[in-house]
């Protein structure tokens, strides 16, 4: 996946997770996830989705460590490149 695609994918995923609470949000890639009301169990679900799409194993605490879409995109970009 290209960097822009990763970012776009993360944005869509976040929107989808928020729609579970019947909330529609505007997404800013520098806004920390916690400000979107992503709690610990939703964060783990998010990580599970990433594991599946990128086919890599990730720690359940990933969203704590890389807490914005920008940081997470960079992390994924680096790790996918190192992997292939």
């Amino acid at each position: 996946m290209e960097i822009n695609n990763i970012e776009q994918y993360l944005k869509e995923k976040l929107t989808e997770i928020k729609s579970m609470d019947n909330q529609i949000i505007d997404i800013d890639i520098d806004e920390p996830f916690e400000n979107y009301g992503i709690d610990s169990i939703k964060a783990v679900y998010f990580v599970g989705e990433l594991e599946q799409i990128f086919n890599i194993e990730l720690p359940p605490t990933l969203l704590w460590e890389y807490n914005t879409i920008r940081k997470l995109t960079n992390f994924l970009k680096e790790n996918i490149i190192t992997k292939t």
Binding site: N22, E34, S40, I41, Y45, P60, T61
Partner: protein, 587 residues
């Protein structure tokens, strides 16, 4: 054989191992899907004994032992191994998912000196220890001896047999209490045998059935309801870690489908899990699921939502899910686990009550034909059973409520636990409540408000000010402590964390006074962000709403106590005096 006559869980384990031998007791799905790790009844006893003899090299009777490892076969063996050795296990949260402070306070409170762990956790734990610069933390951690459990090394065949009395403490269940003051419920062997007997009897379990579970083994619902019940009823349990489920919720329903060949399925979870399955399961994969063998889908440990039940049944009836399988239940750790069992022969018992009367503590059931905007669904959480005495009490004068009145749920019976570990005052307060009419007999106060209608127990909310998020109880004081750390503009002691029911779900609202009457928009945004951040990092959740109010406007009593319920009303009615927010001025 009446299993109710067993005096402790160890005798039961030996009996079941001899009876079921090579039958599979526990099947762990290491990857949440196909990677099976199997433990037979025979091996369960073998490893349990071997671990018990190993533990006795380091420990003496009644020592508390921390279970400090992720859900696995090893976790189960560790639990039974402690019991077999006459030690008191303390099931814990795995360290990566929780803030450290609660964990440390539990370790301190229990007085444990030894922890059973696995290699991976041990390494992670030692790494964490270095990151945390808190001296007290390091001091405490360095005093704990870590024993890592490896099944390959458990080859000692010594048969350990300790004489254990029914009233001896089996384990400590830390579920309630605040972060700073955790309370460990002392569950005795008699409690475990009695409550397991009731679960088996009223769920009508038999040994041809199969449990499917992803519930954490460090909570009563997973530990007693699934792990111990499997042993008690001679069933097979298929399980995965909570992480496996949370990452891919469909794994739960797939496991139920895949293991239906064993027999009928018993599997339960808190309400949110059913909700997730509805929202995250794509219609296109419904044809891969077969839920027709799912006999009881119990729904407990957080408020049951009417919409979840109806959505779940509607969606999954296409895969054979039976409406009567959906069973709300009610229980709490202080009563070992179960209070009211499933009513599995009938569809969920739902009544409509008058909302205004309900607010005043009166239950008025509305007929279907009279339904209007003022009617509110209430969900029956199962029938009252003969072995557990349930009283609805008016706590203003400790008298039993009349029919159709809301009150606090009080309990008595052999499932009521011994109290809180090393907490005499709290034990007195919660476990020694007396009715005005009979000062001889003591009751357990559940802290939950409820009523009884046609023999069913209905839960209406809580007497205590606790907030429930994803089935876990939080004390507002704990949340407030962290909110106050978020910014120096927040006035300490002048605000509250409150739980408000929005869309049938409890939401966290933070209401606080700030120091000034007026702020610019960006300042407010920053303060809100730091509150969300600190709560997320500490508890793993964020508030639904944050409201800042004018200095000295938070409602307090004349003695200066916060009036949380009054504040809640002001919030709902939008009557709070919020601060003035001005736009940015650029010079």
């Amino acid at each position: 054989m009446n299993y109710r006559n067993f005096k402790n869980l160890n005798d039961l384990l030996i009996y079941q191992a001899n009876q079921y031998k090579d039958k599979k007791a526990y099947i762990f799905l290491a990857d949440g899907e196909k990677d099976e790790k199997i433990l037979t009844y025979h091996d369960l006893l073998k490893y349990t004994n071997s671990l018990a003899s190993l533990l006795l090299e380091y420990c003496k009777n009644n020592d508390r032992i921390l279970l400090f490892l992720p859900p696995s076969l090893e976790y189960i063996i560790s639990f039974y191994g402690c019991l077999m050795a006459g030690l008191i296990p303390v099931p814990l949260y795995p360290p990566e998912t929780r803030s450290h402070s609660r964990l440390l306070n539990v370790i301190k409170d229990s007085g444990a000196k030894i922890a059973i762990t696995d290699k991976t956790t041990k390494i992670r734990y030692e790494k964490k220890e270095k990151i945390d610069n808190n001296d007290e933390t390091e001091k405490l951690l360095s005093t704990i001896k870590l024993i890592d459990i490896d099944l390959n090394n458990l080859i000692n065949n010594t048969f350990v047999y300790k004489s254990i009395k029914a009233e001896d403490i089996a384990f400590l269940q830390y579920t309630s209490g605040s972060t700073s003051q955790p309370k460990g419920v002392m569950v005795t062997h008699e409690n475990l045998i009695e409550n397991s007997y009731l679960i088996k009897k009223y769920f009508n379990h038999n040994d041809t059935e199969c449990k499917v579970s992803w519930l954490p083994p460090y909570h009563d619902m997973g530990l007693i309801g699934d792990i111990i019940q499997t042993l008690f009823a001679g069933m097979t349990m298929v399980f995965m870690t909570p992480m496996s489920f949370l990452k891919k919720p469909i794994r739960w329903l797939k496991a139920i489908t895949n293991y239906s060949y064993i027999g009928e399925i018993i599997s339960g979870a808190p309400n949110f899990a059913y909700d997730w399955c509805c929202k995250l399961t794509d219609d296109s994969i419904l044809n891969e699921l077969n839920l027709s063998k799912w006999r009881i889908a119990y729904n407990g440990s957080e408020p049951v939502k009417y919409s979840t039940i109806t959505n779940f049944i509607e969606k999954f009836s296409k895969c054979g899910f039976k409406a009567e399988a959906m069973c709300p239940v009610y229980g709490l750790a202080e009563n070992t686990l179960m209070v009211t069992p499933p009513d599995f022969k009938n569809k969920t018992f739902v009544i409509m009550v008058d909302r205004n009367k309900f607010k005043q503590g009166k239950i008025e059931v509305i007929n279907d034909s009279d339904k209007n905007f003022n009617s509110m669904p209430c969900i029956g959480c199962g029938p009252i059973v003969g072995e557990i005495e349930v009283k609805i009490v008016d706590i203003n004068n400790n008298t039993i409520c009349k029919e159709g009145e809301l009150g606090e749920i009080w309990l008595a019976g052999k499932s009521v636990t011994k109290g809180y570990w090393n907490k005499n005052m709290e034990t007195e307060k919660t476990f020694k409540a007396y009715l005005k009419e009979n000062t001889e007999k003591n009751y357990l106060r559940t802290g939950d408000a409820g009523f009884i209608y046609k023999g069913q127990l209905f839960i209406a909310g809580r007497i205590k000010e606790m907030i429930i998020i994803h089935g876990e109880n939080y004390y507002p004081q704990d949340i407030e402590e962290y909110v106050e750390k978020a910014s120096d503009q927040i006035k300490s002691g002048c605000g509250a964390a409150i739980g408000i029911n929005i869309d049938d779900e409890e939401k966290l609202i933070i209401i606080y006074e700030l120091k000034k009457r007026q702020y610019v928009e960006s300042e407010i945004k920053n303060i809100k962000n730091s509150i969300s951040k600190i709560l997320f990092h500490t508890f793993g959740f964020t508030p639904y709403d944050i409201v800042f109010i004018q200095p000295s406007t938070f409602p307090k009593t004349s003695s200066g106590k916060l009036q949380r319920n009054y504040c809640k009303e002001l919030y709902i009615n939008k009557k709070l005096e919020t601060i003035i927010i001005t736009e940015e001025i650029n010079i």
